[in-house]
């Protein structure tokens, strides 16, 4: 049951083969049974979920259900949920209950989906391994010694282990795609501005984008359909028609021009991962697609560029966590400065503090031009590389991450190596483009993700290409043996 696609679950619910309450209870039982090992959820809300499921069943019985009515979902704990704690993986917000829902959450409710709970994540979405969470690391369902990736590691692991059929994630530098790759699921980061950021706790506002994490491209299409669309409460949300993402899934990809960036296969790429990606590209070629070598000459600058832009924005975005109005406050502050210093010092973890300090430095008088301004200029160059590339090709493909999931603790002492785990995903955020990761094989039992990058608002094309790949291969149907029961 937990291996069914969303379309199959929807068919079953509409055909009354099972009820939403039964389905929801099944997932709640699995969470109770398995999540102690995986730690993918920070908060589980069984009563609320069962009540929502019962309401969905009423709709389904009366024939008024929509495509996702009664389907359970898990939200990354970065999305504010009215009445349910939203921790953002931080001690700072361990006691925070928002009086509003994020727009993404509202849209899922409007589709009558059932919220199972909130998934674990790197603190404030800062991390690539889910080890910076205040609630402890998430384990990779394929190998409990391995990290699930991050920052949406809880969502990725929950979907991979069958603890949720689908989940929301956010992606600032790879936080949907990299954990999707490391956990062997399908994840999509939409074009910047397609999905509302309202109620999504900001890490780096100009890069953050929410997207679906699921078992297949079709499942991603179904959830994206619900998530996407203009929101007047987000000034960076774009007012444009959302296409029917499922309608074009079956389009033939013969003649599709696939750009293969030379830079994505240079040093640092694990040989096993490279082989898996080359094989995937061959499969596309066999299907009639054309591989074109392209260059993204500035992409090698994306990690340093990102580690100026993102910390700069986060240093400002996280200023509101000051112990004054909500969130963590230190005991017995002596005065205002002490309140600030200790509330923030005790409330934030090391990685968050590191990034706040980097960002504060980069924005300081005398350094702004050398760092922030320069980074913005590089960002422009990186974007132009893609504009140029998309004049020649329809999609770009390469590895999502240079290696498969690494072991817990392996990189925690070496932030730069950790940062390099997002080397192929970051440029996509800097350019604001849509990107996907789809399962493409394994190296030593750990999943490998194939990254697909599309031009602006080409989500339908990406989903089509990914779906076609999933028609040819069965990698997305593989489930971690330990949780297959």
């Amino acid at each position: 049951m937990q291996n069914k696609t969303l379309a199959e679950l929807a068919t079953g619910l509409h055909a009354k083969q099972f009820t939403s309450v039964e389905l929801t209870q099944m997932y709640l039982d699995r969470i109770a049974r398995f999540d102690k090992e995986i730690n993918s959820y920070v908060t589980v809300t069984p009563e609320k979920a069962l009540a929502q499921a019962a309401a969905a069943d009423t709709l389904l019985r009366s024939g008024r259900g929509g495509p996702l009515t009664g389907i359970p979902i898990a939200h990354k704990d970065i999305f504010c949920t009215d009445g349910i704690r939203t921790s953002c993986g931080s001690r700072m917000l361990d006691n925070f209950i928002a009086p509003y829902d994020a727009s993404v959450v509202t849209r899922c409710y409007q589709a009558n989906m059932v919220v199972l709970g909130k998934t674990n994540m790197d603190e404030f979405a800062m991390g690539s391994s889910n080890e910076t969470s205040y609630y402890g690391p998430v384990k990779n369902p394929w190998d409990l010694a391995a990290v699930p990736g991050g920052s949406s590691g809880g969502s990725a692991a929950a979907v991979a282990a069958g603890l949720a059929p689908v989940a929301t994630g956010t992606d600032t530098g790879g936080s949907i795609r990299q954990p999707a790759a490391l956990c062997g699921i399908t994840g999509l980061k939409p074009t910047y501005g397609l999905v509302s950021r309202y109620g999504m706790i900001a890490f780096a506002s100009s890069l953050d984008q929410a997207g679906p994490m699921a078992r297949s491209a079709r499942d991603c299409a179904m959830l994206l359909q619900v998530m996407a669309g203009f929101d007047a409460r987000d000034s960076t949300s774009l007012e444009r028609l959302v296409p029917d993402y499922q309608a074009t899934l079956d389009r033939d990809i013969r003649g599709l021009k696939i750009g293969v960036p030379v830079e994505f296969f240079e040093q640092g790429l694990d040989a096993g991962v490279e082989q898996v990606i080359r094989d995937a590209l061959k499969a596309f070629e066999a299907r009639g697609a054309v591989l074109v070598d392209i260059r993204l000459p500035n992409s090698k600058l994306s990690v340093p560029t990102y580690y100026v832009v993102a910390p700069a924005e986060c240093s400002s975005n996280l200023s509101r966590f000051d112990g004054v109005r909500f969130g963590y406050r230190c005991q017995e502050p002596a005065d205002l400065l002490d309140l600030y210093r200790r509330s923030r010092g005790e409330g934030f973890g090391a990685e968050v503090k590191r990034r706040i300090m980097i960002g504060t430095y980069a924005l300081s008088a005398g350094y702004y031009d050398a760092y922030y301004l320069k980074a913005q200029q590089l960002r422009q160059l990186i974007s132009e590389d893609f504009v140029h590339a998309f004049k020649q090709v329809d999609v770009i493909m390469g590895p999502t991450s240079p290696t498969v999931a690494f072991n817990l603790g392996e990189r925690t002492e070496d932030p730069v190596t950790m940062y390099l785990s997002d080397i192929y995903t970051i440029a996509v955020n800097l350019a604001g483009l849509p990107g996907m990761s789809v399962p493409a094989g394994f190296v030593a039992g750990r999943p490998v993700g194939l990254q697909l990058i599309g031009n602006y608002f080409q989500e339908a094309r990406l989903l089509n290409v990914a779906h076609q790949y999933q028609q040819m291969t069965g990698w997305h149907q593989q489930v971690p043996p330990a949780f297959a029961r």
């Binding site: 953002c88 706790i201 400002s316 200023s319 509101r320 504060t360 924005l363």
Partner: protein
């Protein structure tokens, strides 16, 4: 040594939009603490700002009114600093590309000459909340009702050379924003406040001296006093061989002194950068043309028109156009058809005096412009004298009705029948033979005695000119 003062002002005008600049919460003043602050104003996690279009329109209106460039593209930036009444830990303001740049206004100096003061820029920003230090037993209360209220910060060039000029400039901007109906100008409630950058230099020197920034001076009177006392302080330092330190100073009105708040070394690094939550503000010509077409007649133009059309003196025209309400009151008074000169006099002296005594704003005047105009018409057509008019005015003030009703009911119509006046004169002359003798012997002063007596006998209603003429004839 002779010193020259150099002053530049930063004026914060609160824009009178109904909702806040980045949220839908109300901006009304005086609500219970924290009842007009929504999730956006509180800086809760995940919420986002959405720009209030009305605030943009108001800023553009101001820019066009001072002949400035209203930017086709302006950018909101974050000004980062920690303070408990600043919920997000940053203020959304404009830094590198403000919405308004390079305007000017004319001020009139005491000697009647005019001077042009440059406006460097005006930018949109959100206000912070308020920290309340009293009533909390050593703790501080935070009221975030004001957080997110739209402000237009108007920055002048260092063009002013005296406290009087600074006050004239501030009054000019005050009048302008009220004319434009973009700010209520209420200084007590903090809707219009000002910081002053003050320095002195030896007369004739080109370079500016080191400046001090005087914070939050909340009345015209305090601006003048604060600047004067600060100039004195700086000159004292310089003349005793010291150096002025660049710093922010607070004016203490109770002790009439300025004191240091923070020095340049302690100055905060605000780490401005473009706010990624807000897109650049793009204004096209069509929008600016609509705003331009909505501009009211501005004070300078109105003043010229009053002088040219109504032949009121330059001085009176200046007073009458000092606020849009007063100018409107004046023009509506004229609608009744009376003389402009009389109307101007009555408004500037009697009406303003009565309002001042009663502590009322013009809008709350018990005498409407229609009523005042009706009365002035009766002075014009000799129905009543100027003296009786004061009586009529008082009755109108007291709610006794229109001038015509009062004149009728109280029998105040002026006596212009020379026969009737002659009868009174004859009686008085007959009753005072001694005074008649004195007058005829050349004691001119006694004439006044007769005028008084006859006027008293007429109960004040005799036409004064007629009375004079007839009396002179009879006494000859």
């Amino acid at each position: 040594m002779e010193w020259e003062t150099v002053i530049g002002l930063e004026i914060h005008a609160q824009l009178q939009t109904r909702s806040k600049i980045f949220s839908g919460a109300a901006t009304a003043y005086g609500a219970a603490p924290n009842t007009q602050a929504c999730a956006v104003d509180l800086g809760l996690p995940g919420v986002l700002p959405v720009l209030n279009k009305e605030a943009v329109r108001m800023a553009a209106k101001f820019g066009l009114a001072i002949g400035a460039t209203v930017a086709h593209r302006s950018i909101f930036a974050r000004k980062n600093y920690f303070y408990p009444d600043l919920p997000k830990g940053y203020q959304i303001s404009q830094y590198e590309l403000p919405i308004v740049a390079g305007g000017k206004v004319q001020i009139e100096l005491e000697d009647g000459t005019h001077k042009t003061i440059g406006v460097t820029r005006a930018h949109l920003e959100e206000d912070a909340g308020k920290s309340l230090h009293e009533d909390f037993h050593g703790m501080t209360g935070i009221d975030l009702n004001r957080a997110g209220t739209p402000l237009l910060e108007i920055v002048s060039e260092p063009d002013m050379r005296s406290a009087q000029e600074a006050v004239a400039y501030m009054k000019k901007i005050h009048s302008l924003v009220r004319y434009l109906e973009i700010c209520d100008g209420n200084m007590q409630e903090g809707s219009f406040r000002c910081d002053a950058n003050v320095s002195v230099r030896p007369k004739g020197q080109r370079e500016f001296g080191t400046r001090a920034e005087l914070k939050n001076i909340n009345s015209f009177r305090f601006v003048e006093k604060a600047i004067n006392i600060e100039v004195e302080r700086q000159i004292d330092i310089l003349e005793s061989g010291g150096k002025v330190v660049q710093e922010t100073r607070l004016y203490d009105a109770d002790n009439n002194q300025t004191r240091a708040m923070r020095s340049k070394e302690e100055a905060m690094d605000y780490r401005y950068f473009p706010d990624p939550d807000l897109l650049p503000v793009a204004l096209d010509d069509a929008f600016l043309n609509t705003v331009r077409a909505s501009l009211p007649e501005l004070p300078d133009a109105k003043r010229r028109r009053f002088i040219e059309t109504f032949a009121v003196s330059e001085y009176d025209a200046g007073i009458l156009t000092s606020s849009r309400e007063l100018a409107d009151y004046f023009e509506r008074t004229l609608d009744a058809g009376g003389s402009a000169k009389l109307a101007a006099n009555w408004i500037i002296t009697e009406l303003s005096g009565a309002l001042n005594r009663a502590g009322l704003e013009l809008g709350a005047s018990p005498v409407t412009p229609q009523q005042l105009g009706g009365m002035i018409k009766r002075i014009d057509d000799n129905t009543i004298s100027g003296k009786i008019a004061k009586q009529v005015f008082e009755a109108m003030w007291g709610g006794a009705g229109d001038a015509d009703e009062i004149i009728e009911n109280q029998g105040l119509r002026q006596v212009t029948d020379s026969g009737a006046i002659e009868v009174l004169i004859d009686e008085i002359i007959a009753a005072n033979p001694q005074q008649v003798e004195q007058y005829r012997a050349g004691k001119e002063k006694v004439f006044g005695f007769f005028v008084g007596q006859v006027m008293k006998a007429s109960k004040g209603k005799a036409n004064p000119q007629q009375l004079n003429d007839l009396l002179r004839k009879k006494l000859q």
